[in-house]
């Protein structure tokens, strides 16, 4: 009977796929609109002469990369007309430092909190977890004061510090929960074999931790890259991250709004995160659900 059922034309399955397809189309609409708009010229967008029938979802009649070029290197942001380029590199630098530092510290924290238990470790872990629940807005003013005292106000280093502080609770949680599933005997074996604290971590544990590294990196990358509030609050004029610049770009237009440049700018800002998900996405789910390493 089961064999028959598989061969038979399955109506309910068709319905399921149809619904899923519709949902996918619906969710993709904004992206399609963005890509199309970014590739159009302004007359086509505004429905000027010759483009009376164009809508937001009609495909571009002639592909123009002009808007992308403008957004990248010569659109005006405040008074400077140099595009998003320099801010893009600001964000890349910010992400490299903030993600690597917060993930590395989270990994060590998780290792200690799961494998080198000490008196009061659960209290410390609880306090760290509490950090996950503190809203950004609450810490803005105290953080500004701290950065001022540390002489880091308006610098990239200051912004990295803020993101590392906010990232550690999450990365610690990820790594601690991952290392709890690794048998303690592995650590004991390392100690018997003469390995020290760092050798056990780097030689034995890190090589089997890649699933959770992927999770932590994707999580931190997305958060730091997409952050606007900290960037707007703590960055200086030369260290502004891309998201802040994008906002300024969109809001600086004088005269006619250059929708194609805005959309191209937004796409440029979204691409790295998309890339990270495409490369690491399939490990993301595996890492989130991965259990003990057997053997």
């Amino acid at each position: 009977m089961t064999v028959d059922a598989r061969r038979r034309f399955d109506f309910s399955r068709v319905v399921v796929y149809l619904v899923l397809l519709l949902a996918a189309c619906f969710f993709l609409l904004p992206l399609v609109a963005m890509v199309f708009t970014s590739l159009k010229t302004m007359p086509e967008i505004t429905g000027g002469a010759g483009f009376e029938d164009a809508t937001i979802l009609s495909p571009p009649s002639l592909l123009s990369l002009e808007a992308w070029g403008l957004a990248w290197s010569s659109a005006c942001i405040a008074v400077a007309c140099e595009g998003l380029r320099s801010y893009f590199w600001n964000s890349i630098l910010l992400v490299i430092f903030a993600v690597s530092i917060s993930v590395a510290l989270g990994a060590v924290n998780g290792y200690v909190l799961s494998k080198w238990r000490f008196r009061g470790d659960n209290i410390i872990f609880g306090m760290l977890l509490f950090g996950c629940f503190i809203p950004f807005q609450i810490v803005l003013i105290p953080m500004a004061r701290v950065l001022g005292i540390l002489d880091l106000a308006g610098t990239l280093g200051g912004l990295v510090l803020v993101h590392v502080c906010y990232g550690i609770p999450f990365t610690t949680l990820f790594f601690r929960n991952f290392y709890v599933t690794i048998p303690d005997e592995l650590i004991s074996a390392g100690r018997m074999d003469g390995a020290g604290f760092w050798q056990i971590f780097t030689i034995i544990l890190v090589p089997i931790s890649w699933p959770i590294f992927v999770v932590a990196i994707i999580w931190q990358f997305t958060n730091v890259w997409n952050d606007f509030l900290f960037g707007a609050s703590f960055a200086g004029p030369d260290t502004r991250p891309l998201m802040v610049a994008l906002n300024n770009l969109v809001n600086t237009s004088t005269g006619t709004k250059a929708y194609n440049v805005d959309m191209a700018g937004a796409m440029i800002a979204a691409l790295p995160t998309m890339l990270v998900y495409i490369v690491g996405g399939r490990y993301f789910l595996r890492g989130l659900t991965s259990g003990a390493v057997k053997g």
């Binding site: 005997e185 004991s188 074996a189 100690r191 030689i203 057997k294």
Partner: protein, 357 residues
């Protein structure tokens, strides 16, 4: 090879005492098995010898050198874990070489030693594999290889066979024993399996409730159990314990009378005792030291070589292990001959042996 001496070792977690003043001493080349039910403290004791758990009191000396308080790596002890604890990201070769690498041995030295150990354990063909690609028995060998590779003074085994299937377990048991005979190393081995203890050990410490109930050779433990716990824990099927009272030079088991064992001491008239008779001391034919006794045959469990018969006698149940060919007939009255030469007797109240040791 080294002697090991455990002197009044105590372990407390908070206010609960899991080990109280345990003292055991073994000679170089001894194979000590710590055996007992789960929760008896045997693994805790092993971890304390290894240096993975701190002592709350007492001393541990290896070759007259005090080692409690030292880091595990300073003790020159290797350990094989229950789950094998192989490093998942490393090949078999790197796993085995790891202790040497940590000790700063050069690459050539590592390779030579790994090759030697791989030959000894016949795992040369597995060296390039990762642990995940190995069977349970192979992992077991690799774990032993990692322990052997740096010639430690003492080997610790923490229930190493409990994750293997029954057949492999027997094979590995033989192999570990052969390895011990060949290398002559001093071993401390933890298990809850009394058969493993009996077959492998040169010395057994039977543990229960955080204390050593008896320490001795397998023969001493089996033939002269110090108390009721040791008597029933060691041996399968378990030793029969028949309740009775001393009456002259006989024990009244409630209608059935058996003689008081010759080596018994400290018994008085009317003393409440338990008579310990191992199932294999029963037979259907009389022998030089046997006494006859009657009982009701209740149940027969054939195991192949033997028949385990459940017998009711004087209102008490006992198990007799008879040869498969024994002519016992069907259910009903049966006459058995029990060898009283090895019979042991325990105080019914304290459970202590009343035999002159």
């Amino acid at each position: 090879m080294a002697s090991l001496s455990i002197d009044k070792v105590t372990k407390r977690f908070g206010t609960t005492e899991v080990l109280s003043e345990v003292s055991i001493g073994i000679e170089p080349g001894d194979f000590l098995v710590l055996v007992g039910p789960s929760g008896c403290g045997k693994s805790t004791l092993l971890n304390m010898i290894a240096g993975l758990t701190d002592l709350s009191g007492g001393e541990i000396r290896l070759e007259e050198r005090r080692i409690d308080g030292l880091e595990p790596k300073e003790r020159n002890i290797a350990m094989v874990f229950q789950s094998y604890a192989l490093y998942p990201a490393m090949t078999v070769e790197k796993n085995i070489a790891f202790p040497l690498r940590m000790a700063g041995v050069d690459k050539a030295g590592q390779a030579a030693k790994v090759g030697e150990v791989a030959d000894l354990l016949q795992i040369g063909h597995l060296l390039k594999r990762k642990p995940a690609a190995l069977s349970g028995g192979q992992r077991q060998r690799v774990a032993m290889g990692r322990a052997l590779v740096r010639d430690p003074k003492l080997f610790l085994f923490d229930e190493p066979l409990s994750n293997l299937d029954a057949k492999l377990r027997v094979d590995m048991r033989t192999e570990i024993k052969r390895l011990h005979q060949r290398l002559g190393t001093t071993i401390v081995y933890v298990t809850h399996d009394q058969v493993e203890a009996m077959t492998m050990a040169t010395k057994i410490a039977v543990m229960e409730g955080g204390a050593v109930q008896q320490f001795g050779t397998p023969a001493e433990i089996y033939d002269h159990p110090a108390n009721r716990f040791v008597a029933t824990f060691m041996g399968s099927p378990a030793m029969n314990l028949l309740k009775g009272t001393v009456s002259g030079d006989m024990i009244d088991l409630g209608g059935l009378h058996l003689p008081v064992p010759a080596a018994a001491k400290g018994l008085s008239e009317g003393h409440k005792v338990e008579l310990g008779l191992r199932p294999e001391w029963f037979g259907t034919e009389p022998g030089p030291d046997t006494v006859p006794m009657k009982g009701e045959l209740d149940l027969v469990e054939p195991t192949g070589p033997d028949l385990y018969t459940v017998i009711e006698a004087a209102g008490q149940t006992l198990t007799a292990r008879l040869p498969a060919r024994a002519d016992i007939g069907g259910p009903g009255e049966i006459e058995l001959h029990v060898d009283m030469l090895k019979a042991v007797i325990f105080d019914a109240e304290t459970g202590k042996s009343m035999m002159a040791q």
